[in-house]
Symmetry: C2
Subunit: 419 residues, 2 copies
């Protein structure tokens, strides 16, 4: 890979983004006034992109442009630009069923690998809100609803063979980000990648112990195989609390550039893992007079809210909107109702089991791998942070090595409290 | 779908195939002489294609052309021509690793949807040989070797994410034949499709009983979901004994137009099911002085030969040629050898379990669905045929409802004898 970019591509800045938007009549009309009247702020705090918020007299937009390298690693980790294509393709695929649970999509500019979409305000990133002990009464239900709607509609339960084949063919090409997930989530954390880091020396022993645990490593590899092969639905691919923006009343899922056809439990497990990590990290953010006990309890309680919303919505969609080629209605009559209901329960139990395992994988990578979580990173004192990270890692190992202990979302809650 | 064919397409006949081949210098050179010197015979006995065998003074070729409808159903079941593209794409993908276990590929003519390849002689179709009680000492080992090499090389164990993505993107478009498999293998046989047929009235009760078995139907649907989602490797997709041509010493796998990214066990189970059905059918072909007992025993003994060859070759390839992104060598060191070995055993046990279930699905569809097997169909007397078909159907139900009873290939042998 190289940093040579395709003809017509240039990195936008706060000036050139005005000229770009000025050339899009619909966007210009949305903003109102002249480019000189617009305020432009670059706010990208992610790893991979530039993000501009643009306000005009009549309205606002957000411009997200892919960079040809992983921003956090500097230019030493080049990265193809086409992930912006997959991001907008995902928004287009799921928008019909998830509605305002994603930002409104306005325009995609192929040459610039830039998406123009709704500017979310006064939303903040859910992870930041949770770290600040804020509560969002709708968020677990909203993300559960999002996960159910998006995965059902793009699975063989909600889509025909021909519809799913279009997504399969398109998203199969999202290999750059698939490789990143395969490497930084599954391969590196228990291997010996120079990209790995951990709170050292506090967790040196834990890192050594995990990397010497042959059984754990092969189980993670089993789930890596499943991740690479199990094309159940179009999944978001990076559904952590940093990919969700919130207000007290509104929830939006964003940053779907890792979208692939994959296991539904990978999205479910990612969200659960990030709630659980925030719960475990809460004592690290305690201040005099605020032990963070209630905040922690609230976050952990969102795990069953999320799972129960997901699973009941997914089941309801299956009961009322089955229009795919799996479990085809033509096979079943009224006499099969009880058996089909049992099949749905089996199906959702398997998704739950997958989610528990992927939650384990996704947690370990945040403690021992390349990309860490602000939930832990914002705990400045490593002597406070390390034991909390160790708790998360031990729970993750339970998720992977004791799958029989996790049958319900309440089992996750109990184990997270006990760890 | 319609029978309007694309510009440039015409159905070949014994005359026009000469003109077509005359325009291909390499083929002309291979055949030698002039088109008028060539003998041409159309031998297609399949459902979907024309097949010409062409002999010249210096050599021979086979021309296989896709027809725009399912031949056995007449023009009432139209079918896109592009399956010829997928057939040649499959040959090209696996040829580097399976060598002469497939026919040599010479030319693909996109406008005609025609493949020019090696003419196999004096090969006959394996199914026909087995029905005639012939023995092929190499065939189970050869097809086991074929299955292992082709699936390993195109899985995430033998291919990189980028290589597999090319196949995923290409073969995702093979929706016409995927839909046929989904419908005629999984949906129709236990449903109420007008395409279904069975030996009637002898098996009317059995058909009714199976179609009233809600548990069986949901289990078949579970495996239908797995078939549609589980993209483990590029699979042949129709690996029965009618897709294998043999002599006493040579084995060739052909007709891979159903190729998709799918579960490895679907290929393995298809071949096992067709051996087992031939075993069960043998008494129906008995004549005075030939009870077919030895022939039947020989066929059934090929089940463990096939599975053991497949599994030991697959394991050996994994041990020596792992070059994919699943179970990446970078994760494992010498201290992990025993755990990795156990993971390989788990992995192959899962493929076996998948194969047993798909063998069940594939057997039921040959008794109650659209396309039946010559193994049973050649038994002219329905009163002789029906009880043998019923045995096969009952064994298939065991495969699906009692998975715990089938841990080894020998368990299949024992159950097939006992049924």
């Amino acid at each position: 890979m190289s940093l040579v970019t395709p003809p017509g591509y240039y990195s936008l800045n706060e000036e050139s983004v005005r000229a770009f938007l000025d050339g899009l009549p619909e966007i210009q009309a949305r903003l109102g006034g002249k480019p000189a009247d617009w305020t432009v702020v670059e706010v990208g705090d992610g790893n991979l992109n530039l993000v501009f918020l643009v306000d005009g007299p009549d309205g606002s937009v957000c411009v997200k442009q892919a960079l040809p390298y992983v921003r956090a690693a500097g230019e030493s980790w080049p990265l193809p630009l086409d992930r912006a294509f997959f991001e907008q393709a995902y928004y287009r695929a799921v928008a019909p069923v998830v509605g305002a649970l994603v930002p409104a999509f306005y325009h995609y500019e192929p040459a610039l690998y830039a998406i123009v979409m709704e500017k979310l305000a006064p939303h903040i990133i859910l992870r930041r809100g949770l770290i600040e002990a804020r509560r969002y009464p709708n968020v677990a239900r909203d993300v559960g609803e999002f996960t159910a709607q998006a995965t059902f509609a793009t699975s063989d339960l909600g889509a025909t063979i021909e519809e799913k084949a279009e997504w399969a063919s398109t998203f199969a090409k999202n290999t750059s980000l698939l490789r990143i997930t395969a490497e930084v989530v599954f391969t590196d954390p228990l291997g010996t990648s120079p990209r790995n880091r951990w709170t050292s020396p506090h967790l040196d022993d834990l890192a050594r112990e995990f990397r010497a645990d042959s059984a754990l490593k092969t189980i993670v590899a089993d789930w890596g195989w499943r991740f690479l092969t199990d094309g159940q639905a179009l999944i978001h691919g990076d559904l952590h609390t940093g990919s969700v923006m919130v207000t007290e009343t509104d929830t939006r899922v964003m940053d779907p550039e890792f979208a692939i056809l994959g296991p539904i439990g990978f999205d479910v497990g990612a969200f659960i893992a990030n709630l659980v990590m925030n719960f475990i990290a809460q004592p690290g953010h305690a201040k005099a007079g605020d032990e963070r006990r209630e905040a922690a309890d609230w976050v952990l309680d969102q795990v069953p809210v999320y799972w129960n919303t997901f699973s009941s919505r997914f089941r309801a969609l299956w009961e009322t909107k089955a229009s795919g080629d799996a479990y085809p209605p033509a096979m079943f009559g009224p006499a099969d109702a009880a058996a089909l209901d049992a099949a749905r329960t089996r199906f959702l139990d398997r998704i739950f089991a997958d989610a528990v395992a992927y939650a384990g994988v996704k947690t370990i990578r945040r403690i021992l791998g390349f990309a860490h979580n602000a939930d832990f990173e914002r705990i400045a004192d490593p002597a406070t942070r390390a034991p909390l990270e160790a708790k998360a890692a031990r729970l993750a190992r339970q998720f992977l090595l004791e799958p029989g202990s996790f049958r319900t979302a309440e089992d996750i809650v109990a184990a997270a409290r006990a760890v």
